[in-house]
Amino acid sequence: MGHEHEPTLFDLSVKGRRAASFRTSGLPEWGAEELVPAEFLAPEDETVELPEVSERDLVAHFTRLTHRQYSVDLGAYPLGSCTMKYNPKSCDLAASLPEFANVHPAAPPSCSQGWLELLVELEEALCEITGMVAATLQPSAGAAGELTGLLLMRAYHSAKGEGTSRTRVIIPNSAHGTNPASVTLGGYKVATVGTNSRGGVDLDALKATLGPDVAGIMLTNPSTLGLFEEDIVEIASAVHDAGGLLYYDGANLNPILGVVRPGDMGFDIVHLNLHKTFATPHGGGGPGAGPVAVDERLREFLPGPRPARLGDGRFGWQMPARSIGRVHAWHGNALVLLRAWTYIRLNGGDGLRSVAEMATLNANWMKERLRGTYDIPYDRPVMHECVVSAHGLAKETGVRALDVAKRLLELGFHAPTVYFPLIVEEALMIEPTETESPQTLDALAGAFLQIASEARAGAAGAGAAHDAPSTTPVGRVDEARAARHLIATIDQRAS
């Protein structure tokens, strides 16, 4: 309301001002020199200077920042591949319970029985959902899950004496960027397979690529095109026949909850993005949680220590026989896991199936509403998201996917994902999720159509898109300049 821009907390700082206060301790007030050996004590001119503000200014600053920030709670967020569904407030409540939030991670099991039971229950639920037998809850996000999964793959092959011979992991060219990056970090070479005309994995190319040097394949199913991989059973047996394992990137699990399970498709390793499918809020970029579930063959390699039932209602920690070791400093993003547990309980089995149905219904409806206005590169029924293209629109009017996105911001919606997957030109990847109502979908589709029809109506309309957004806290941001003149800290700004 009125403010042109928000100064940084440093700009608001006044030396000597303060907000903090502490508990009265009654302890001796030793001085710093008495406590810290001289060689380590920071001399005055090395004091770490932080912003000094009053509690009042702290509040005003960060509250104003929130008024410069879009979020799921403000409206539709159809960002493809991200599953920006509504995050139930009950889960916030759960994560705020002090009996969970204030448990020290190294507290002995006698102090954390509730936590351990909950984690075990979550693991069991995730196994039921994915059709797997065991899971680690340690990975902090999808990418961490991927790398964990690849290390499990490696451990498996190594145990069979094929650790050094299997050097390649196959990924389709539609894959998310974390997949190839994880493959490299897992010590493998990426072997890319193409996409066939129906948007699926090119099966022949895949078969040609398979061989004794292949450790496995990473697949997202439904794919980043929003399409279910029709040949999944054939793919699975081909990879298995070649001695490889199938890794399931679970970022797109949402539309198959209760419909089909990765395990039943033939996958051996599955990561889940709890911050997508299970509604744990995204936090502006995290925290997430990326548990990895596996089939029987891989169980013994899981990271540990793992929460486990000890019998007679007690819980404790166990280390799998041939564990790859820990992948997190503690037990994973526990409060995120707690939220996911809550979400699963709130929905129940049937509820999760409805989630899948409505996510799929919404995406297909959206695709059909945009038909004729935007191009549909792979024209098949979709699952949770649809990828359309502004290619034709751009050719006709000069309004590109990016312009559509920016104009949407102005119309009160978040933009879809743009220019991904890379195999679609001028891609607009729209994932409405199941929590958006038909009315919201209708308004969103209306906005997409409006932008295109304005653009087609002539230069003014196209101009509006090029100039967008104008009603947002800032206008189109100069990204190139940010990279050219890097100012990543306040001290760099000053210098």
Binding site: P88, G285, G349, S437
Partner: protein, 453 residues
């Protein structure tokens, strides 16, 4: 109630299906081969109301013992019971921060972007280095990424890591080395609790990174100079795993010669949380910025010249660089970074110093109280500031269990990563600014009884 968060009414579903020319919801899944479709639904409990789920959670909650007035916390080891004021919780839980995605559309994400910029600015100062990224998963992940950066930058895969570095972080490095191919060599601690570094000659050859804890896991203050010298001699990057709270008193890692500093940021506004979500701090010199893992926010302008923020140097990242990216991180821990920015803003220069100072005082008082008890000795002789380990007549694991009965979380037994060393089953302890003399006195009394029971 079968799907509490799905808004569609039956009529609406029917209309939408009709629009799509479908007869039933099952038809939506026509592309899923029949053979693999799940028959009979998921074997999970049915949907439950918030009240019922909260009821169940309360039952589970009763089986936890959180840190608080009924379980006074002297445990640390990378997870600290620091003050989190109401104002920080209240601001960090604003739903615009909580329910936003990664700021891909800067025009509607200035709130998160600016908060990250401020976070980066503060963390860089805490580390005494020029650049901090927008967060990583936790301290362990930050160390792993630092090792990767060091290896990539130097071209050397050998990592010389002090045994004084948090053993759980060391283990994470080891776990991921299976993929990256790094060779992790753990350099043992001497009896005084500081690292027994090899001489450059002993180190024998090229090294990618030398890693040291500051203070180290046992709380010991280690001179960084030998590690720096070793790094210089072997062509390695020096990675300092630092305690960011201690930067309120200590010279920063940067001032001590670090090339990279990594740490755990939980102490800044995040609850103990049974270990997560926490906050991986990652800092380095500007010269390494093009290999920086994860997100980086930069200041720029919008089309009208107004100040604006945006994620920058994006070409480093996995979504663009794919298999050639140096890191695979995508989702990070932004909310914790925002929280840390708020908490650090709450603390300010003097508050940070006070937390460090008050914690050091409480720790000193705790240590002196315990060392005055018969049978209790210091596990290491090097100076300590924030944390320390003691040797007691009975193993730490058993002692901790006993003291829980009296309402104290006595500390963290030194086990994982110290197997077979003289420090195994010593007890690692700390006292933050939240501990009072009264609490410590009561604890010392219980402690004495427990070790002699």
């Amino acid at each position: 109630m079968s799907a509490p968060f799905v808004p569609h009414t039956d009529e609406e579903i029917a209309e939408m299906l009709a629009f799509l020319g479908l007869e039933s919801l099952d038809d939506l899944f026509s592309t899923v081969p029949e053979a693999i479709r799940l028959a009979g639904g998921l074997d999970l409990p049915p949907a439950a109301s918030e009240a019922d789920v909260v009821g169940r959670l309360s039952e589970l909650a009763e089986r936890n013992r959180p840190a608080g007035s009924r379980l006074v916390c002297f445990a640390g080891a990378g997870a600290y019971d620091h003050e989190v004021p109401a104002v920080v919780r209240s601001l960090a839980s604003r739903s615009e921060f909580v329910t936003a995605y990664t700021p891909y559309q800067p025009e509607v994400a200035q709130g998160v972007l600016q908060a990250i910029f401020e976070y980066q600015s503060m963390v860089a100062r805490l580390a005494g280095l020029e650049i901090a990224n927008g967060s990583l998963y936790d301290g362990a992940a930050a160390l792993v990424e630092a090792a990767n950066l060091a290896a990539a930058a130097t071209g050397h895969q050998r990592l010389l890591c002090s045994a004084g570095v948090n053993p759980r972080w060391r283990q994470a490095v080891r776990t991921f080395s299976a993929g990256s191919g790094h060779a992790l060599e753990v350099v043992p601690l001497a009896a005084d609790g500081t690292t027994a570094w090899p001489s450059p000659e002993e180190a024998d050859g090229d090294v990618g990174a030398v890693v040291i804890g500051y203070p180290n896991f046992l709380g010991c203050m280690e001179d960084i100079a030998p590690a720096r010298a070793l790094a210089d001699a072997t062509g390695a990057r020096l990675i300092v795993a630092f305690d960011p709270v201690a930067s309120g008193l200590l010279r920063t890692p940067g001032a001590m010669g670090a090339d990279m500093a990594v740490g755990e940021g939980q102490a800044f506004g995040t609850a103990l949380s049974f270990g997560g979500p926490y906050l991986g701090l990652f800092t380095c010199h500007l010269s390494d910025v093009r290999r920086l893992p994860g997100r980086l926010v930069g200041e720029t302008v919008d089309r009208d010249g107004r100040p604006a923020y945006v994620t920058t140097l994006r070409t480093r990242e996995q979504d663009i660089r794919r298999e050639r990216a140096s890191s695979n991180v995508c989702t990070n821990q932004t909310l914790m970074a925002v929280t840390a920015a708020i908490q650090l803003g709450w603390l300010g220069t003097t508050g940070l110093r006070e937390v460090a100072l008050r914690s050091a005082r409480a720790t000193r008082y705790l240590r002196e109280s315990l060392l005055s008890l018969p049978g209790v000795t210091a596990a290491a002789s090097a100076p300590v500031v924030r944390e320390f380990a003691v040797r007691t007549p009975l193993p730490a694991t058993a002692l901790v269990e006993r003291l829980v009965e009296d309402g104290f979380l006595a500390g963290v037994p030194v086990t994982e990563g110290f197997e077979g060393t003289e420090f195994e089953e010593t007890l690692l302890m700390t006292a933050t600014e939240r501990r009072t003399k009264e609490e410590i006195d009561a604890f010392a009394a219980s402690f004495e009884k427990a070790i002699h029971r």
